[in-house]
């Protein structure tokens, strides 16, 4: 029933319907919100990040106080099952959350680059486009980078987001991972591509919110 309602919500808006088309089909019925436990996997790591204007801030500013969905990307990634998939899921979730007023102000998205050499704040700003602009739809989406690999590595390693430079030195090889972080800054779920689906993530967000009641 919940899944059906979610699908209807997505299909209600033309843009969202486009996302549904693009996303891989979920081959299982995920457990209903609140019927399962999201474990405290680990604390989100500490470090310094740069926003699209080049302002430095501790990462904790973006991982505490709200439920956070954080994904690593690099802007030149083109594998459809990698960063673009995460982007599509984030987009679809943004649409869904926009239709759910009870979720407004309780969830944020963070997109963090693991390619500081190329992904400067300016590049991240262009990559984000209008997504980084808050339009009063209940959800803020932050696009962040770091000053250097030295600043990045503690974050990458702290999240367990492995990345390596391929032999040509021109590609960043990585596993798609997206992290769900609770208001206290603990990682509560880590999505690989199979579980990175709007329906699953939204259920998890609701499960975390149910803990707060």
């Amino acid at each position: 029933m919940r899944a059906f309602a979610f699908a209807v919500a997505l299909l209600a808006a033309p843009a969202a319907a486009h996302h549904v088309e693009l996303l891989p089909r979920l081959e299982f019925v995920p457990p209903a919100p609140g019927t399962y436990v999201l474990h405290h996997i680990m604390a989100a790591p500490q470090g310094t990040v740069l926003d699209v204007d080049g302002n430095a801030a501790p990462l904790s500013r973006y991982t505490r106080g709200s439920i956070t969905l954080l994904g690593f990307i690099y802007t030149t990634c083109s594998d459809p099952d990698g960063c673009p998939l995460a982007y599509r899921v984030f987009d679809a979730l943004k649409e869904a959350i926009g239709t759910r007023t009870e979720l407004h102000g309780r969830v944020r998205f963070v997109t963090l680059s693991f390619d500081p050499a190329r992904d400067t704040p300016g590049v991240m700003s262009r990559y984000a486009g209008s997504r980084a602009v808050y339009k009063g739809n209940g959800l803020r989406w932050y696009f962040l980078t770091t000053r250097s690999a030295r600043q990045l590595m503690p974050l990458v390693e702290g999240f367990g987001q492995d990345v390596r430079v391929t032999r040509t030195g021109r590609e960043l090889s990585h596993v798609l991972k997206v992290f769900l972080i609770d208001r206290g800054g603990d990682v509560r779920e880590i999505y690989s591509s199979n579980f990175l689906h709007p329906e699953v993530v939204l259920n998890d967000i609701e499960t975390l919110l149910a803990e707060e009641r």
């Binding site: 081959e27 500081p116 430079v165 590609e171 960043l172």
Partner: protein
Amino acid sequence: MRRSYCVAVAALACAAFTGVHADETCNSPYISKLIKGQEDYVYVWTLGIEGLGDGSDKLVTVDVNPKSKAYGRVINTVSTGTRAEAHHMGLTDDRRHIWAGGLSENRIWVFDIASNPAKPKLVRTVSDLGDKSGFLGPHTYYALPGRMLVQALSNTKDKSGKTGMALYNNQGKFIDAQPMPSSNGGDGYGYDLAVNPKKNVLLTSSFSGYANYMRPLGELIKDGEAMKNFGNTMVVWDLKALKPQKVLAVPGAPLEIRWSLNPKDNWAITAAALTSKLWLVKQDAKGDWNAKEAGTIGDPAQIPLPVDISITRDGKGLWVNTFMDGKTHYFDLSNPEAPKQTYEKVTGKQVNMISQSWDGKRVYITSSLLANWDKGGADNEQFIRGFAWNGSELTQKFEVDFLKEKLGRAHHMKLGSRALYAKPKGG
């Protein structure tokens, strides 16, 4: 519009892995780095033998790259300094560490294989499994994103086969424990676990407890009561919720579980040790999971004792080692409901684990089952043997004699590669 923000520099390509693959076909699908070419190393988790070398369990690194001057030789050992019935190990999802444990106690040794893949380092010992969960004898180490799911075989209270799974994060911090189901057909036993993430299914199998696996085999099989204490079930779990959904009757101690890695397939296969049967676990048209006896391995009346199995990456073939007769079997799995043996060869006087390279061209076999179940005298060979497989014949390429090298009993294997580890550039 989408392309404008996703492909800012078309000359660069993203090589993101989606998490649905595995390299050595038996690994967790969440393991990130694939060895699709020639592996450089085989790490062998080895039981110490009292009076042989240092007598301790150890991680042995064997160079298996034919282009190396050290091909077929031991290039490193890391001793744990104790003897704890070393058995299985598993890679973390980032493939930076190996978790390895023993069945006679509760310590788990964590080795760093990323800093120098040729020389693993012991970096951590996790020792709170018994205190936190009540379980004993960690067996399977299965990578989940950022976590390790550990299947135990026994418990600290009565050392029977009632056991469960424990969840740790990759830093070795205990997160949660989950007992194997003991109602609705569940028998409480555990052995292996394997995940099909696409279906949100975790599948577990069942063996026996400390009280049985630590007894000499000859003594155990004469004890009729003790022989009743083996698992006869598999369990289908909701992976996301980590809750049991259905108990399947699979008599005779179903052991290793291998999902077909073919994306179109929706089945897993296992071998029941005591009955020498292959069992298929498959999803039906209604989405329900069922177990079905699919075939026989050797002559069950002779108790060949199938131990390890290894599935090809396309799900079309299966290697099976039978311990008692030392045979390595190959089954055609084109029809998984009716596997057909197409090849067999005696590869040792006793054989246990079997691993194959991603391309299926190389097969590695070790000898030890359990310290008290291995054969005696001249039949107690201890080795790793490397074979080439051309599709019709196994040809031995090298052997390391673990007794001659004063190492111990060769058990579980994982493959290693130098090329997997590098850091991003930039500042």
